[in-house]
């Protein structure tokens, strides 16, 4: 089911196929969660924004003309809901849905070192928490699994498709700059303490 193309999944959902719906939610829920987290939403607010997008899709499923743009549509709904939530909680005074995100970075506090496989991962996540808010937003959305299309990222952050590639490059460069320092310090410390582990033999190269 998950490997069916979107047009077929949408067609099946319209005819009432709950398995096709499950496949859609499996494909996009992490993207939507990543968008909400990228826009700084806490657990409960992120959950609400994501759920609203799915509920809206149930209402609108018969009106979707271009199923290939479904991810973008869902991402747009989440972004607007996040805006509404921010307005409600008084974090922004005025402005259209597309404005007012300048200072908002991604949620980076769920870092729990116990959850991370090793110090390198912890260093990576700390570096992410230290970059500019706009880079955090973009990269957090790009971290969605499966990886989003640029059209989906564009909808999620209301930025032109053409600027995503260059911004991504710039943000990753910032990240690398921070990492070079951090990881070098860490590796040096471990080596000094005689704790260098066999898997560190790759000179700190990050392997996915």
């Amino acid at each position: 089911m998950a490997e069916l193309d979107l047009a077929e999944l949408v067609r099946r959902v319209r005819s009432g196929d709950a398995d096709a719906w499950d496949a859609l939610t499996g494909r996009y829920t992490n993207l939507l969660w990543s968008v909400a987290r990228g826009l700084g939403m806490g657990d409960a607010d992120a959950a609400d924004a994501v759920q609203t997008a799915w509920l809206r899709l149930v209402e609108k499923i018969d009106d979707i003309r271009d199923p290939e743009r479904l991810g973008s549509w869902l991402a747009t709904v989440v972004r607007r809901e996040c805006h509404n939530i921010r307005r409600r909680t008084g974090r922004v005074d005025t402005g259209e849905p597309e404005e007012g995100w300048e200072a908002v970075g991604a949620v980076t506090d769920p870092l729990d070192d116990r959850l991370l496989r090793d110090e390198r991962d912890a260093a990576l996540w700390r570096a992410f928490a230290g970059i500019r808010p706009d880079c955090q937003r973009l990269l957090r959305v790009l971290m969605a699994d499966p990886a989003p299309s640029y059209a989906e990222v564009s909808a999620a952050l209301d930025m032109p498709v053409g600027s995503i590639g260059p911004t991504r490059q710039r943000c990753l460069a910032c990240l690398r700059d921070r990492l070079d320092g951090n990881l070098f310090e860490q590796t040096k410390a471990r080596t000094a303490a005689g704790q260098r582990r066999p898997d560190d033999a790759g000179q700190g190269v990050i392997r996915p």
Partner: protein
């Protein structure tokens, strides 16, 4: 080291870490699947026509609702009915003050998180619901001609 960290590699590493430390919570996935159960092919939809969190349409309305002060207005129209909702924060919960027109009496429900609560509407179409949690809601009513109408989902 720089040269070896290609963008894709770095992003893949982050994708894996994000899944570890900030993956989609299970209940969010379960709720997403369950959303399909809200499908109602026969009901007409009353769409959100104004939301004071986004628009200036309410500027002339009385005490100038201010979402940052926990007070805002929503209006829905469609399927022959109209719903105006005033939402107000009250000690962490929400109080809804509603005005319905075009509905038949006594058959109106508030839906939230898979639950349905009957709404007591007075003869003038007014109702109050207190103690509502934040999250997506919708109202389901019947129009005067008996058609089932639901408002679109809205996060409050």
């Amino acid at each position: 080291m720089k040269d070896e960290w290609h963008d894709e590699e770095l992003l893949s590493a982050y994708r894996r870490i994000a899944a570890d430390v900030d993956g989609t919570p299970d209940d969010v996935l379960v709720a997403a699947r369950a959303a399909f159960l809200t499908r109602d092919l026969d009901a007409a939809i009353a769409v959100l026509v104004a939301d004071s969190r986004n628009e200036t349409a309410y500027e002339t309305v009385r005490a100038e609702p201010d979402p940052a002060q926990g007070h805002w207005l929503l209006s829905f129209e469609g399927g022959g009915i109209q719903v105006d909702l005033e939402v107000r924060e009250e000690q962490g919960r929400l109080r809804l003050l509603g005005l319905l027109s075009g509905t038949s009496s006594g058959d109106c429900f508030l839906e939230q998180a898979g639950e349905r609560h009957r709404v007591d509407v007075d003869p003038l179409g007014r109702f109050v619901v207190v103690g509502v949690a934040h999250g997506p809601i919708r109202l389901r009513c019947r129009s005067s001609d008996g058609t089932r109408v639901t408002t679109t989902w809205v996060t409050i």
